[in-house]
Amino acid sequence: MTSESAGPVPDRTWWTVAVLGPLLAGSVAAGGIVWGVLDPPSPVVQAPTAAPAPLTAQARALLGGLSRGDGLVGWSVTAVSGPDDTGAIRVQLRHRALAFSLMLAPKGSRPEPPPVQTEHWAVYYGHVDPPDAALSRNAIRATTNALANLVRAHE
């Protein structure tokens, strides 16, 4: 038994319950951490309302070849798709645990005024994940303007 102050000499035997027990618990915890790092659990994904439309060559050209793995003002592009049935092109972005989508919609195709627009396209944002997270004002401005600049150079 270990006592915290002066007194009997601490028992340094390592094969007792007092040592092996914590080691066992630590092994379970460490194993869980290693497992989590090597094989991250699949995130709980909500059923998509529709499969993302494949990226067409015109859309790829419009975005200047922007594709998965590229960076956009500090955000990583995780997917690019479209145009879909409504003509919209989606760019999914992620930074650490926060993800959201930018959407290019043909100008005039939606009733809401977009934060940024180009000659032919309106840039919207949404689908924040996790849903209760908030995007900062700077993140919205920077990413929508960066995408708009990219489109302006190629439209």
Partner: protein
């Protein structure tokens, strides 16, 4: 280090650290929370019209009275005083641990001072944090044998947080077991005095039952409460527990044989309290949700259990090993089912501390626990669900949209977001913007049901609320398109209750959508087409 863990000065340093952590959040209003604004509002009501507000049990009268002198100064002044009141729990818990004979009383104080949830609650102005300070004082009075005062205070605290009734029952059990009538007498002081004074005010003896502190059931047909009638998942509970304190893992290896009898009563309170919070919403008993902040009052007891466990540190026995392995397995399970690895890392930290103690370095072990506690506020706070970015998620987007829609002249903003007016006022980002708050139907229903119309209380409470309620209030009967300012900007969060005060049949044709984003809609009066 032992001196620092034992001397009263160490507890005051920890209290100062607690204040510093809370004050650091004021800069970006990280913990601005509608429940904290409500605590402030109730104190303002006491200042605006004392008698009707004081005898409205919903206002948490003792607490409203406590902050009434400072509330009219500003929200900022109120939050500072609230933080300082909350900080009092730190030396109180240390003093209690000292009286109980703890070897290192400041370990318990550190658990309180570095609790992520308590730091957030103190800075946010939540009444749950006041309950922690109150319970800490009750425990100190109790162990100091000032049972009458402990009873008086605890009897009063039930009018601050009704869930503290669990501690009242425990005190009654203790008083009955040990034949301590003074504690029972103390428990009766506030209810009797307040009840009799209220009977004079209301002209009605059973007024407390007729006008209770809260509705026992939500308004019929109110869609807001339906999502709350869910069961908290194990992952949620683990996150909440770690937000209360990462040291909760230490409690899993506690040794009840080292507790004094009084500590056993208090642990019984903590167990019964947590059990009630988990089970009552599941059974849909009483009208409250699964917010983790309800757990806060057990923090002083948790702190005392942790203090007992780590000093003196005893070698793990079979029970402790079994408990720790189960907690470790729980950590793995939590991560595989959608949680974080926080519990696994916490278990690893505890194992490290246990091995340090085993190798003859008990002080290093305690230091490891303290370091783990220090990591709490920056890394374990998410489970408290108090941060503004999660509780008012659309707020930043709102400010962007108001900014974008505002020209040279500021436009009045009509919103259902309770935090918006305070956020704009405190950040000063959009000067001159007048904020009107859309009072929800269930809020009017609750105030109406809890106030007495016969003696004029109801009318006077509504008059006092018209002076300010999350901005300038617009009550449902005034919420018609023609009565809004013509240039008003409606900034609305997704709230299922909104359709009650803004029926789509009336409003859809009157508004044009300016922006629709995640959880947020911005609209304005539909402009007449130019001819």
């Amino acid at each position: 280090m032992n001196g620092g863990l034992q001397r009263p000065a160490g507890a005051w340093v920890l209290a100062a650290l607690y204040v510093a952590l809370g004050a650091a959040s004021f800069g970006d209003d990280r913990f601005l929370h509608d429940e904290g604004l409500l605590t402030h509002l109730f104190s303002l009501l006491i200042d605006r019209d004392f008698l009707p507000a004081f005898f409205l049990q919903k206002t948490r009268p003792p607490l409203a009275l406590l902050y009434a002198p400072v509330a009219p100064l500003s929200l900022g002044a109120f939050l500072w005083v609230h933080l300082l009141v909350s900080a009092a729990a730190v030396p109180l818990v240390a003093a209690t641990a000292r009286r109980l004979g703890h070897a290192a009383p400041n370990v318990a104080a550190a658990v309180v001072a570095l609790s992520p949830m308590y730091v957030a609650g103190g800075a946010a102005g939540l009444s749950n944090a006041d309950a922690v300070a109150g319970v800490s004082l009750v425990l100190w009075l109790w162990v100091a044998r000032r049972e009458l005062l402990a009873g008086v205070l605890l009897g009063t605290l039930v009018w601050v947080r009704a869930e503290l009734m669990v501690l009242v029952l425990v005190m009654l059990g203790w008083a009955g077991w040990h034949r301590r009538g003074r504690a029972v007498a103390g428990l009766l002081v506030w209810p009797v005095a307040y009840g009799l004074c209220g009977a004079v005010y209301h002209g009605y003896l059973p007024w407390m039952l007729h006008y209770p502190p809260a509705l026992s059931e939500p308004m019929e047909g109110n869609p807001f409460w339906q999502p709350h009638h869910r069961v908290a998942s194990l992952v949620d509970l683990i996150g909440s527990g770690l937000a209360l304190s990462p040291a909760i893992v230490v409690a899993s290896v506690c040794r009840p044989t080292t507790w004094r009898p009084l500590e056993r009563w208090w642990v019984a309170f903590a167990v019964a309290f947590v059990g009630a919070l988990v089970l009552l919403p599941r059974w849909q008993v009483f009208n409250f949700d699964q917010s983790p902040r309800y757990l806060m009052p057990v923090l002083p007891v948790l702190a005392l259990v942790v203090g007992r466990t780590v000093m003196p540190w005893r070698a793990a026995g079979g029970q402790q090993v079994l408990a720790l392995v189960c907690v470790a397995a729980l950590g793995v399970f939590a991560h595989r089912t959608g949680g974080t690895l926080a519990l696994s890392f916490t278990v690893l930290g505890l194992v490290l501390a246990a091995l340090l103690a085993r190798s003859g370095r008990p002080r290093a072990a305690v230091l490891a626990v303290l370091l783990g506690l220090a990591l709490g506020p920056p890394y374990f706070g998410d489970g408290a669900r108090i941060e503004r970015r999660t509780q008012a998620a659309a707020l930043d987007a709102m400010v962007v949209q108001i900014d974008a829609a505002t020209g040279v002249r500021a436009r009045p903003v009509v919103t259902n977001e309770p935090v918006l007016a305070a956020y704009l006022a405190r950040t000063g980002g959009l000067p001159g913007v007048a904020v009107y708050y859309v009072v929800q139907a269930d809020q009017v229903h609750e105030i109406s049901a809890l106030t007495n119309p016969a003696n004029g209380q109801r009318e006077r409470i509504f008059a006092a609320l018209r002076l300010g309620l999350y901005g300038t209030p617009i009550f449902p009967d005034a919420m018609v398109p023609s009565r809004l300012p013509p240039d008003a900007l409606l900034v609305l969060t997704d709230d299922p209750r909104l359709s009650i005060v803004m029926p789509p049949a009336v409003w859809d044709s009157a508004l044009e959508i300016v922006f629709r984003g995640p959880r947020l809609t911005v609209a304005q009066h539909k402009r007449e087409p130019r001819r």
